[in-house]
């Protein structure tokens, strides 16, 4: 049998343990509890054996070297009589016999005692290991339940803040994160299917009505084709944005310093064409060297979404201003247009997924190019949140101004002797608009 075959033929189970001697033991003996108990009682047995052996050895050596009768014999001064000498000899012999008996008894009790210690320590060890490992059993059970049922269960281990409690709490925190991500995804799928149904319904109904009409005119066919084209454009835009959203969510957590100034300059170049086509001019006023810590691609997406939004809403011939700078520990960036603006009470809502404002209204030919996907600003907010920043709409006299803030990135290597303090205030200062 080759090694590959033996790998496949080995019984299922823990692959790491499968080739060690432990796997040959019955399952109960493979448990940590058994191994801990065995180790504990063997060690206790060893220590007790050494101690008892030491006592035995000390006692036996002292008994054989210090014979009381001999000492008594040598202690008596003056001439000794034979009768006395004989008595001492008899005493000595008797003493040796008694000593021998005592050692024999000690030996017997020691062996019994060691045996008792072994069994008692096994019992105590089994009990203690069980007590200590009980939370692990609980963690395993809950984890298995969660696998089988739902993500809403938690271990919620009570007790002192020890290693196992920390393990359980970490596990709970991980579950919280997982559940949030899972719920978020479910909601996204739900919202998205709902969003896709609207353009689908538009297409389907238009096609149904036109195709079932034997007297449909050429204009009606043309109108239907136009409607279908518009709806499919809307759907493809939604799919694009959805991909961007998913891509952002999947971004690795590794962050790197990003120069926002470079990003803005690059993006403005990209948008120049689209803006000119709409008769818009871009005014850029960006400070140099604006470093933040994050993902360049995500940040690029966020700024691009704001620019695209401005281009879509700005009336022909107006200007779009892009500003960026640094203020008390924060980097700010603003995009302002002269479009219809956003009502005060709608300012938080526009960042929710699939919320669109003022679109689809008749008589705004500029928006005839199609609706947005309703994801653009939600993506911006998501990205800013992962960058410890914020995005909001700020008051301006005309149009809408979107402002984003992110903490300044300070290079640790250059300024290592200074303590870097994160700005304490939750609300970032207003940028200079």
């Amino acid at each position: 049998m080759t090694s590959v075959e033996s790998k496949f033929l080995s019984p299922p189970g823990n692959p790491r343990a499968s080739n060690t001697g432990l796997s040959r033991l019955p399952p109960a003996m493979q448990s940590v509890r058994f191994r801990l108990t065995l180790l504990y009682s063997l060690m206790l047995f060893g220590v007790a054996s050494i101690m008892m052996g030491g006592i035995y050895w000390g006692l036996s050596s002292s008994l054989t070297t210090q014979i009381v009768a001999a000492e008594m014999a040598s202690d008596s001064t003056g001439p000794t009589f034979d009768i006395e000498q004989d008595r001492y000899d008899i005493q000595e012999e008797l003493e040796l016999l008694v000593d021998e008996r005592t050692l024999e008894t000690l030996r017997r009790y020691s062996i019994f005692g060691l045996g008792a210690i072994f069994f008692a320590s096994f019992g105590v060890g089994w009990f203690t290991a069980g007590r200590v490992l009980m939370p692990i059993g609980r963690i395993t059970r809950v984890a298995r339940d969660i696998q089988a049922t739902d993500l809403s269960r938690r271990i919620g281990l009570a007790g002192p803040n020890d290693d196992l409690k920390q393990l359980a709490d970490t596990f709970d925190a991980m579950l919280d994160r997982l559940q949030r991500a899972f719920d978020n995804q479910q909601q996204l799928i739900h919202d998205t299917s709902h969003e896709l149904r609207n353009p689908l319904a538009v297409m389907r109904t238009n096609l149904d009505v036109t195709l079932s009409d034997p007297d449909a005119s050429l204009e009606q066919y043309q109108h239907t084709t136009e409607v279908v084209r518009r709806s499919s454009e809307r759907m493809s835009k939604l799919v694009d944005d959805l991909l961007a959203y998913a891509r952002h969510e999947a971004t690795t957590r590794v962050e790197a310093p990003v120069d926002l100034t470079q990003l803005v300059v690059m993006l403005v170049d990209e948008f120049q064409g689209a803006a000119e086509q709409e008769g818009l001019h871009l005014n850029v006023d960006v400070e140099p060297e604006l470093w933040v810590l994050g993902h360049a691609r995500s940040l690029e997406q966020a700024i691009a979404n704001l620019l695209a939004n401005a281009v879509r809403f700005a009336p022909t011939g107006s200007g779009i201003s892009i500003g960026a700078g640094q203020k008390s520990g924060w980097i700010w960036l603003t995009v302002s247009d002269h479009g219809p603006g956003v009502d005060e009470d709608e300012r938080d809502r526009v960042f929710q997924r699939y919320v669109r404002l003022g679109e689809g209204e008749v008589g705004r030919p500029h928006l005839a190019g199609g609706q947005g996907s309703g994801l653009g600003l939600a993506i911006v907010r998501e990205i800013l949140q992962t960058h410890r920043g914020e995005v909001s709409i700020i008051d301006t006299e005309v149009g809408a101004t979107f402002a984003m803030w992110m903490p300044v990135h300070v290079d640790f290597e250059v300024t290592s002797e200074f303590r870097i303090r994160r700005p304490k205030r939750k609300v970032p200062p207003a940028p200079n608009v």
């Binding site: 609207n198 319904a201 538009v202 109904t205 149904d208 009505v209 079932s212 409607v227």
Partner: protein, 229 residues
């Protein structure tokens, strides 16, 4: 039968309206909740096709408002059209006072079938066939026959006859006909009702027999419930 189609998707609302007009309904269109409620207060619609997700006021609120203040003697039937298909959404919609619920995207024939069902619920008849005297009208097949002979009608005449056949023997005024058979684009000061009733009467009358639709001077028109021969 007067229908109001409410949907913020302009392309969808217009397509539904076009399709329903072809079926012989008089259709008005509204694009948001407030507009819908305003129109429903002014006109005694027979049916309102109501989208749920709309700006300003959503469909459920419109539905509740219509049910809370019955302005007209005959409250409208409400058919909710929505992309939300969860059971709790449907239950909530029906609890708000909707009569039926259709999930987008739908097949247009299903919409018209449901509209027909809703329209005949109060007529206590089953199926798509209406019969008054010797006149038979099939709302699904869109056909009319008099004593077995097919009668060819325009969609407006068909709608008018269907309305008459819903209330045989009852005198119906010109204003009522204008409200239920014509849409908001009809000019109330023309004699379009009189002209259409006239042509309809001519088409359903068999030569040498008494016309089944009679004029009640000063009151309106009545479809006679004559026994079939």
């Amino acid at each position: 039968m007067r229908v109001l189609v409410v949907d913020d998707e302009v392309d969808l609302a217009q397509a539904i309206a076009r399709g329903l007009r072809r079926e012989g309904y008089a259709v008005d269109v509204a694009h948001d909740g407030e507009e819908a409620l305003e129109k429903a207060r002014l006109t005694p619609y027979d049916l309102i096709c109501l989208d749920i997700t709309m700006p300003k006021m959503d469909g459920r609120a419109v539905c509740r408002a219509i049910r809370a203040e019955p302005v007209h003697a005959e409250p409208p039937r409400i058919l909710m059209l929505t992309a939300r298909d969860e059971i709790q959404d449907r239950v909530a919609g029906l609890d708000d006072g909707a009569d039926d619920y259709l999930v987008k995207p739908f097949a247009f024939p299903e919409l018209t079938a449901r509209v027909r069902t809703l329209m005949r619920r109060d007529a206590a008849s089953t199926g798509s066939l209406l019969r008054v005297g010797s006149i038979t009208l099939d709302t699904a097949a869109h056909s009319v026959s008099r004593s077995g002979d097919p009668v060819s009608l325009t969609s407006k005449e068909f709608a008018l006859l269907r309305y008459f056949m819903g209330q045989p023997g009852v005198v119906i005024s010109q204003e009522t006909l204008l409200e239920h058979v014509w849409d908001e684009n009809a000019d109330p000061f023309t004699n379009t009702v009189r002209v259409t009733v006239g042509t309809l009467r001519r088409k359903v009358t068999i030569d040498g027999e008494e016309p089944p639709i009679e004029t009640v001077i000063g009151a309106g028109y009545r479809l006679l419930d004559l026994p079939a021969e």
